[in-house]
């Protein structure tokens, strides 16, 4: 009978001596965060409370729910529902396009992953308004697609100034935000985990369904939020590709602010924020400690 530890009753926890920089212990670096804390308080937290304040008060600064209830105005309601419909559609299309792409890219044996990331974000260096305007050229009645179709005597497409054109604009603009998070999660999956699954008898379809897909879920969820939120709230894409007749909730809010109706605009923004918070809540539920680089 060999005694392993004579006094395990007084178990001592190992001090966490190798986490963080040593300077951390003496708290000498804490002050480095003060400029940032001040900045974030002044430009993120307080401004958000400003929206709540304006949204819940009238011109004279008195409390009211009127601004919020303006969402029930038929025009506003229609704009909100259309925005929801189009953004959900474009999010779904982005997911369908991006997942296979990310999967293929993750299998490429590249010297550096940053090259793939660059290819995907390089278009951002052309102004996004211009890139969206370029889609007018492609989609117009006499645009590139139709010229092409006519050449082969096929029926022409008229999707400019329709909701479809807006969805296309959303997919085009936000596709990178779906591809990159999924790609980043996929390349981090340990190859031995996949090998282990194969070793234990899973075929490639089972390996995908039971291993790769569940492991990539955080990237998918992150991608969904990154596409859904900007799609839901855009007013630029709908202005450029939707003509003047299609109004999304983003257009309504922008217009209210342009006209100086800050209270109404803020009230409608609050309604919009509910949907944003909802999607963030879902994100945080699936993405426990997301301190890493999982967006870029």
């Amino acid at each position: 009978m060999r005694i392993k530890n004579i006094s395990s009753t007084r178990a001592v926890k190992v001090p966490a001596s190798d986490t963080g920089l040593q300077i951390s212990k003496t708290n000498k670096v804490k002050w480095l965060s003060y400029p940032y804390i001040l900045w974030m308080a002044g430009f993120i937290i307080i401004p958000l409370f400003m929206i709540i304040f304006y949204g819940l008060s009238n011109d004279e600064g008195r409390f009211t729910l009127e601004n919020i209830s303006l969402i029930l105005n038929p025009v506003h309601k229609k704009a909100l529902f259309l925005a929801l419909e189009l953004s959900l559609t474009s999010t779904l299309i982005c997911l369908i396009l991006a997942y296979p792409l990310a999967l293929i890219l993750s299998k490429f044996k590249m010297k550096s992953n940053s090259f793939i990331v660059l290819i995907i974000i390089l278009p951002m260096w052309m102004n996004f308004l211009l890139r969206t305007i370029a889609w007018q050229n492609i989609l117009e009645r006499t645009g590139i697609i139709n010229t092409f179709l006519q050449f082969f005597h096929l029926p022409t497409l008229n999707i400019i100034n329709t909701p479809s054109a807006i969805v296309l604009g959303m997919v085009y603009n936000f596709l990178p935000f779906m591809v990159l998070p999924i790609y980043n999660v996929l390349i981090k999956i340990d190859k031995d985990i996949i090998n282990a699954a194969r070793d234990l008898g899973a075929n490639s379809r089972q390996t995908f369904g039971k291993i790769i897909l569940p492991l990539s879920l955080p990237g998918v969820i992150s991608g969904i939020t990154m596409v859904f939120v900007p799609s839901l709230t855009t007013f630029v894409i709908s202005t450029i590709l939707g003509g003047s007749k299609i109004v999304l909730i983003g257009n309504v809010i922008e217009q209210q602010f342009r006209l100086g109706n800050w209270n109404t605009g803020s009230g409608l923004s609050l309604v919009l924020m509910i949907f944003i918070l909802l999607s963030m809540a879902i994100l945080s539920k699936y993405d426990k400690e997301s301190e890493g680089n999982n967006i870029w």
Binding site: Y36, M40, P47, I51, K107, L129, A134, F257, S269, I276
Partner: protein
């Protein structure tokens, strides 16, 4: 084998989708016709015109200055904040990270409006400085998210080793920590610069009537028609960045060799 070709075809198709509008814009910059609807022959006219156009050059100047300054300031604030956050206990760190994520996950329109409201409430005149502050605000998170992973990879003992060898904490930081996290700092800076350059919505709400960035200038011209000089300018900018990236990639490839020549 078929599967591989199919995969490559698919990647090609998506890249075509992403780059088609850019090809069109580049083509338009050489189009003699002022209308973007028809091709009127090749010309370099718009490139010459561009440099005469004061409004566009002013907007370009404003855009670049704001992108540069906001990226620089955000990099300094963000890097120091990341170092401080990395040494915090779990709970305060998670709270800080949560706040950091707000501008990234929140809608641009909400961020833009909220910033405009605070500037107006403080009776701060909307203009260059308000746009700059707004850009710094949404840029900091990109820097933090770029620097944080590098800090986590850091061997905590390298800093101690430098102190042990006689370095003061400040000297040790610049000699040992900064070089190690520098790739993260640099990519944070470039990311911030890009984001600032490409931003329209937040600038739109915080700029006031006096100034224009390229984005807001383009937006005012959406209805009446974009001036072809703009196509020429964005083509130039795009090509510049493309060449820069190729150069950086090549330099990095050379640096990978393990032995450094003395």
């Amino acid at each position: 084998m078929v599967k591989r070709y199919l995969e490559r075809f698919y990647v090609g198709l998506i890249i075509l989708f992403l780059y088609a509008p850019i090809l069109i814009l580049i083509t338009l910059s050489f189009n003699q016709s002022k209308s973007r609807a028809k091709w009127g022959g090749f010309t370099l006219h718009w490139y010459r015109e561009l440099f005469q156009n004061e409004a566009i050059m002013n907007a370009l100047y404003t855009t670049l200055i704001i992108a540069l300054l906001s990226a620089l300031i955000a990099t300094i604030i963000g890097t120091t904040a990341a170092i401080a956050m990395n040494s915090m206990k779990r709970t305060p760190r998670m709270i800080m990270m949560g706040i950091t994520n707000i501008p990234m996950l929140n809608a641009d329109i909400v961020t833009g409006i909220s910033l405009m409201l605070i500037f107006v409430a403080l009776r701060y005149t909307l203009g260059f400085s308000s746009v700059l502050m707004a850009h710094i605000t949404f840029n900091i998170p990109y820097v933090i998210l770029s620097v944080m992973p590098k800090l986590k990879q850091l061997n905590p003992h390298t800093f101690e080793a430098a102190l042990d060898l006689g370095a003061s904490p400040v000297y040790a930081f610049f000699k040992v920590i900064l070089p190690d996290i520098f790739p993260g700092v640099l990519s944070g800076f470039f990311l911030a610069f890009t984001m600032s350059l490409d931003d329209f919505v937040i600038t739109h709400f915080t700029k006031g009537p006096e100034i224009n960035t390229l984005s807001t200038k383009i937006y005012t011209e959406v209805r009446k028609g974009i001036k072809p000089e703009i196509y020429a300018l964005s083509t130039l900018m795009f090509i510049t960045v493309l060449i820069l990236l190729i150069l950086i990639n090549r330099r990095n490839a050379e640096k990978k060799a393990p032995v450094r020549k003395a």
